[in-house]
Amino acid sequence: MRWVSPWRLQRMGILGMNCRNRDFIGSYNSRHLFPLVDDKLKTKLLAEEYELATPRLFFVVREQHEIAQIEKKLAGLDGFAVKPAKGSGGKGILVIIGRREDKFIKSSGVEITIEDIRRHMSNTLAGLYSLGGKSDMVIVEDLIQFDDSFDGYSYEGVPDIRIIVFKGYPVMAMLRLATHASDGKANLHQGAVGVGLDIATGRALRAVQFSKPVVLHPDTLRPLNEIAIANWRDMLLLASRCFDMTGLGYIGTDIVLDKVRGAQLLELNARPGLSIQVANGRGLLPRLRHIESLKPRAHRTPEQRVDYAMQTFSLD
C-alpha cells in the first residue's frame, strides 16, 4: 500500500476529480446544456440535425405498453443495441449480435429470450439505469459493424474511441477495447483495455488494463502498440464539431469506426472520466491550461482547431 505525493501528481499535470468538477465541468459546461448529452436520444437527434454521423436509430420505446409490441418491431433486425436514453457509465446497454431460432445472442455469446429483452426494457423505462432513477426511454439503434482494422483487438464488443474535447480542441484520446473481463463493455473500471492515442497521429502510446500497463490484448494476445487509427483527422473533426453542436466546453466524445459508414458518434459525456490520463501516461492539466490561455476565437472552425491541436499536442 503506497501513495504518491500530491506534488508529484501536480508536476505530472494530473487532473484530479475535484479540479475537474469545479474548474472545468463547473466552469465551462452550463447546466442547461446537460440534458443534450445526458439524454442520448436528444444527442442523436441533434447530431442528425448537425449532420454528424451517428448509428441509425431504429425505434424508441417511450411507454410501458409499447414493450408488448417490440417483437414485431424487432422482427427484421438481426443485430441491434438496446440503450437507456439517460443511462450513465455504460449501464443498461444490451447488444444483440444475432439470432438463433427464437433466441437472441448477446455480444458475449450468451443466449437470451425476448422476455429477457422485455424485462430489460421495462427496467430501463422505470429508471433503473438513469441518473437519480428518473423514468427513462429505450433507444434501439443499429449495431456497429466495426472496422477490420480492429480485428483481434476487441473481444465481444465494439472498440470505441474516447476523445476529450475542451473548448472545441481535442486534447487527449484513447481507444477502449472490450475484454472478456469487462463483459463486452468499454469501461475501463470494468476491465476494458485503454490504449492512449497520440493526438497528432492516432497511434498507440501505451495501454493499460485495471490501471496496469499491458502489451498484448489479454484475450486475443495481439500486440497493442501496433494500433494506428485510420482516418484519424476525420475522427478528431467529428469530435471537435460536437463542441459547436452542444456548446459544452468540456466533453468526452465516444466515437466508433464502422466498417461501412466510417466514424460514428456514439454518445457524449459531460463528465468524462479521468482514466484517460492513465491510458496516456500523462496528465490533462497542462493541455487544458494551454487551451485556456489561448485568445478567445483564436481558431474559428473545427478544422483550424483540430490542426492546431494536432500540432501542439504532438509527441514527436
Binding site: 504518491v4 500530491p6 501528481l9 484530479g16 475535484n18 427496467n123 432513477g133
Partner: protein, 517 residues
C-alpha cells in the same frame, strides 16, 4: 473565461465563522451558557429557620427577604412549611415572605431556602432620587454631646465617607471621651447610633442587615451595617471596624428600619440562618436566567421539551454533513447514496453502535437475499422498491420481536432506521452486485458504514451534542467549512493511490529511455 474573484467568497466564509463564534461567545458571556456540559457553578444555599410558639390562633409570620442583594443573584427560592400558606409580597423595593395559617398551636418551625450565585461584580447602589436625611431628636444632654462629636468629626473630615470614618473612630476609641461615652450609654447599638448621628449631620444614612457567608455554618445571625449616601451612591460601612465597602462574602438580607421577623399569633419567635456552599450544573443556572436576554431568542431552550429533543438531533445533522463532505471530497471514499450515512448515524444514536451495526447489516443482507428472488418476478421498478419497503418493515419488526423475546429491550429501537432509505440501499446494492460484482458492494457498503460510524462517533460525543444544541449558531461554522471544502480542487486522498501505478510506470519508462540513450 475570466476567473471570478474569490474575495467575496472568502469574506462570506470568514463572516460566517466570525458570526458563529461571536454569537456563541456573546451568549456564553451574557447568558453564562457553559461551553462544557459538565461545568459546575458554585452557589450559596441559605436556609432561614423560624421557630416560634403558636398561641392556638390564626398565625401570620412575616420574614424580610433579600431583594437584589448587591454582588449576588437569586437562583432559586422556596419555602418549606407544611400546612402553611406562603406568599412573597413586594412593596416598593422590599420583599417580605408571609406564612399564614388559620390555626396553629405548639412549637412551629418554618423554613425559607434560597440559592444565591456569588462572584458577581457589585455595581454601585444608586437610588432613583437622592434620599433626604431623617430628622433626629435627642434628649437635652445627648443633643449637646452629639453636636460636639459631630463638630469634632466634621473638622477632621471632608466627605461623607471620611466623616463616617471619623465618627466611628471617635465612638470606638478605647478610651472614649465624655461625649462619646454619654452617647454610647444612651444608644448602645453602634450602628443605630452612627446612623442617627450621620442623619443629624445632614448625611443620609440607613442600616442594612447583612449575612456573612461561611461554608457549612449554622445558627448564623445577621450583622448590622450602615449604608451612607455620598451624594451619588450608598456606601456600606462596618460600624464596628470602620471598614468601607461591601465585603465579598456579605449578603445584604434586608434594609431599613423594618423588622426582620414579625410573628402575629405566636410568641418566643427566633430566627437562625445556616448555609452551605454547593455546586449546581452551570447549564441549569443559565437556563434559569435566560428570560430577559436578547440572545435567549436564538436558543431553543424555550421550546417545549418534545421539540427540544427533535432539535437536538436536527442540530447534529450539519456535523454529519460535514463528515460526509470531508470523506467524499478530501478522502474520496465511495459511499452508496450521498447522505445515507448521516441517516444511519442518526439511527445509531438511538440504537447504540454495536446493535445498530448488527441490525443494519443483517437487515440489508436479508433484504439482498429477498431482492434476488424479486428480480426473477420481473416487477416494475417502483413496485419493486415498494415491495422492498414493505419487506424491510417486516424484517425490522421481526428483529425487534426476536430481540424482545431474547430480553433485549434495545431491539425495539431499530425502528428508528430510515426504512425507505434502507429499501433503496438494498435495491442499489443488488444492482451493483449484478453489474459490478460483490466486491463493489463491499467497497461501497463498507464506505457508507465507515462514514456512518465516523459521523456517529462525533455526534455521540457529549460535548458536541451540548455545543450544537446550546449554541446552534456554531452550525454556521460548519456551514463555512463545508463551503470551503466545496472550493477544494486539490487531489483526493484516493487519487494519490489511483494514479500511483501510472506515475511509477511512466517514471520507469522514462528511465529506460534514458538508459538506452
Amino acid at each position: 473565461m475570466k476567473k471570478p474573484s474569490r474575495a467575496p467568497f472568502y469574506s462570506i466564509v470568514i463572516g460566517l465563522i466570525l458570526l458563529g463564534l461571536g454569537t456563541a461567545w456573546l451568549r456564553h458571556t451574557t447568558m453564562e451558557i457553559p461551553f462544557f456540559s459538565g461545568e459546575q457553578r458554585p452557589v450559596w444555599l441559605i436556609e432561614a429557620r423560624v421557630d416560634f410558639f403558636a398561641n392556638n390562633e390564626a398565625v401570620v409570620a412575616k420574614l424580610a427577604l433579600p431583594s437584589d442583594p448587591p454582588g449576588f443573584r437569586t437562583f432559586t427560592e422556596q419555602a418549606a412549611s407544611p400546612g402553611y400558606g406562603w406568599a412573597v409580597i413586594e412593596n416598593n423595593g422590599t420583599r417580605r415572605g408571609e406564612w399564614t395559617k388559620r390555626n396553629a398551636s405548639g412549637p412551629q418551625t418554618l423554613y425559607y431556602k434560597a440559592q444565591f450565585v456569588g462572584e458577581i461584580d457589585a455595581g454601585p447602589v444608586v437610588p432613583e432620587e437622592p434620599p433626604v436625611p431623617q430628622e433626629v431628636i435627642w434628649d437635652g444632654p445627648q443633643a449637646t454631646a452629639a453636636g460636639q462629636i459631630l463638630a469634632m468629626a466634621l473638622s477632621t473630615s471632608s466627605t461623607p465617607q471620611s466623616m463616617t470614618r471619623e465618627l466611628i473612630k471617635l465612638l470606638q476609641n478605647p478610651s472614649p471621651d465624655q461625649n462619646a461615652s454619654l452617647m454610647l450609654t444612651a444608644e448602645p447599638n453602634m450602628a443605630t447610633l452612627l446612623e442617627k448621628l450621620l442623619n443629624q449631620a445632614g448625611i443620609p444614612a440607613r442600616s442594612a442587615m447583612g449575612l456573612y457567608l461561611e461554608d457549612a455554618r449554622r445558627h448564623q445571625s445577621l450583622t448590622q451595617m450602615v449604608e451612607v449616601f455620598d451624594g451619588y451612591e450608598w456606601v456600606v460601612f462596618n460600624p464596628l471596624t470602620g471598614q468601607e465597602g461591601l465585603p465579598d462574602n456579605l449578603l445584604i438580607w434586608h434594609r431599613g428600619d423594618q423588622s426582620l421577623l414579625d410573628v402575629i399569633g405566636g410568641s418566643r419567635s427566633r430566627i437562625s440562618f445556616s448555609m452551605i456552599y454547593q455546586t449546581v450544573p452551570a447549564l441549569e443556572l443559565a437556563r434559569a436566567q435566560s428570560v430577559d436576554s436578547v440572545f435567549s431568542v436564538i436558543g431553543v431552550q424555550r421550546l417545549p421539551i418534545e421539540e427540544q429533543g427533535m432539535f437536538k438531533l436536527l442540530f447534529l445533522l450539519p456535523l454529519g454533513a460535514l463528515v460526509v463532505v470531508f470523506m467524499r471530497v478530501i478522502v474520496g471514499l465511495k459511499t452508496s447514496g450521498t447522505f445515507m450515512p448521516i441517516l444511519i448515524a442518526l439511527a445509531f444514536l438511538q440504537t447504540s453502535l454495536g446493535l445498530g451495526l448488527f441490525s443494519f447489516v443483517s437487515v440489508v443482507a436479508f433484504g439482498l437475499v429477498l431482492r434476488t428472488y424479486l428480480s426473477r418476478l420481473n416487477l416494475l421498478l417502483v413496485a419493486r422498491i415498494a415491495t422492498l419497503v414493505v419487506l424491510v418493515i417486516f424484517i425490522i419488526s421481526m428483529l425487534s420481536l426476536v430481540g424482545y423475546q431474547m430480553g433485549l429491550n434495545t431491539g425495539m429501537t431499530i425502528t428508528f432506521f430510515p426504512m425507505i432509505i434502507i429499501a433503496w440501499t438494498i435495491e442499489r446494492m443488488s444492482i451493483l452486485w449484478e453489474e459490478e460484482g460483490p466486491k463493489q458492494v463491499l467497497v461501497q457498503g463498507g464506505g457508507s458504514l465507515l462514514v456512518a460510524v465516523m459521523a456517529y462517533s462525533l455526534m455521540q460525543l457529549q460535548f458536541i451534542g451540548h455545543l450544537t444544541f446550546n449554541f446552534p449558531e456554531l452550525n454556521l461554522v460548519f456551514l463555512a467549512l463545508i463551503m470551503l471544502m466545496g472550493q477544494y480542487t486539490g487531489y483526493k486522498l484516493s487519487e494519490l493511490r489511483r494514479f500511483r501505478a501510472m506515475i511509477d510506470d511512466v517514471q520507469q519508462d522514462l528511465q529506460k529511455a534514458g538508459d538506452s540513450k
